[in-house]
């Protein structure tokens, strides 16, 4: 069954909460679609974002058997980074999952 958007959103929020505990950033304990992940108004520094991306890839792989690479050339070269907010990040993950499904239909 394809992964629901809400499931991906919860996965990202859970990872952010855990990262927040590890890095002692209390803003990450409760996030929503508008929470900034990237840029000067983000609670995450650049290494925090690296950890977030690798954690998302790993959890999608371990828990849902979905193998995608978030850090692609197309993501990095977009005018608006897909990692700027929680909501845009979830949209981007859904795009990649759909593209992977289209390439390897089960």
């Amino acid at each position: 069954m394809p992964l629901e958007r809400n499931t991906v959103l919860e996965l990202v929020q859970t990872i952010l909460r855990e990262l927040g505990e590890d890095l002692e950033i209390k803003e990450l304990s409760a996030t929503d679609e508008q929470t900034r992940l990237f840029g000067s108004r983000s609670a995450l520094d650049s290494m925090g974002l690296v950890n977030l991306i690798t954690d998302i890839e790993e959890q999608l792989s371990d828990e849902h058997d979905i193998h995608i690479t978030l850090a692609s050339q197309s993501a990095m070269s977009r005018t608006h980074s897909p990692f700027r907010k929680v909501g845009s990040c979830v949209n981007y993950i859904m795009e990649l999952i759909e593209a992977a499904d289209a390439q390897n239909p089960s």
């Binding site: 290494m47 950890n51 790993e58 792989s61 193998h67 690479t69």
Partner: protein, 232 residues
């Protein structure tokens, strides 16, 4: 519990020797090469992949974790060489050498380091060569690829230090393997003349470096290129 290592290029030569060495020390070893292997051991798992194939590398690194647990040590050994005068070097040599030596090292390092960063860190050992610091004639592309590996090693060491991952490289002298068997004796003798210690390397020389870099006490050593034979 046994620790898990992944070694590239384990079908023969130095990679095979390192695999057998770590297996004898009780490690669980994942290995790969483009072809099958006759290395059989209850703790050895072979993958037939090209290290420059991104999808295959991603799948392999994930599979090792699923089957055996997170990788603690990566030995990025796979490499190809090609000797030729620079004016007689076909562009295909560039593609072949840089794909395996640079792209392959990068891809395996990236995917393994992602896993290590989530699982308490680890050790990464890349392979350079004395061909890089000696700028060996006849090995322009090979030396250039190993210089790229050295640069990658030093930068990765900085970027991964906060994740408790060390990244170092070993720079062997020529060892009697398939990689140098077609090199004329006079060329090898001329090369040895450039080394302070004038002999071919042995597999034991390299195993000693691997042991040193994998020792728990070596956790303060990263971003270093460890040349053999006195070369620097």
């Amino acid at each position: 519990m046994s620790q898990v290592a992944f070694i590239t290029g384990t079908r023969k030569g130095i990679g095979r020797a390192i695999a057998e060495h770590l297996l004898s020390q009780g490690w669980i070893v994942g290995g790969c090469s483009r072809r099958s292997t006759d290395l059989v051991h209850e703790n050895y798992h072979h993958f037939e992949i090209d290290v420059a194939d991104e999808a295959a590398v991603i799948e392999t690194i994930k599979t090792i974790k699923k089957l055996h647990g997170p990788i603690r040590a990566l030995i990025n050994n796979a490499g190809v060489a090609s000797m030729n005068h620079i004016l007689l070097t076909p562009v295909e040599s560039y593609e072949k050498i840089f794909k395996t030596n640079v792209l392959g090292t990068f891809l395996v390092l990236r995917e393994t380091a992602k896993q290590m960063s989530r699982n308490g860190g680890g050790r990464i050992i890349n392979f350079s060569s004395i061909a890089s610091p000696l700028n060996l004639e006849g090995e322009a592309l090979y030396a250039a690829s190993k210089s790229a590996v050295e640069s990658l090693t030093k930068t990765a060491a900085k970027e991964l230090a906060s994740m408790d991952i060390t990244v170092n490289a070993i720079g062997p002298t020529p060892v009697e393997t398939d990689l140098i068997k077609l090199v004329p004796k006079e060329k090898i003798d001329a090369l040895l003349e450039q080394q302070p210690i004038k002999r071919l390397g042995t597999q034991e020389d390299i195993l000693n470096c691997v042991d040193f870099l994998l020792k728990p006490e070596s956790d303060f050593i990263t971003g270093q290129i460890l040349y053999l034979g006195g070369v620097n």
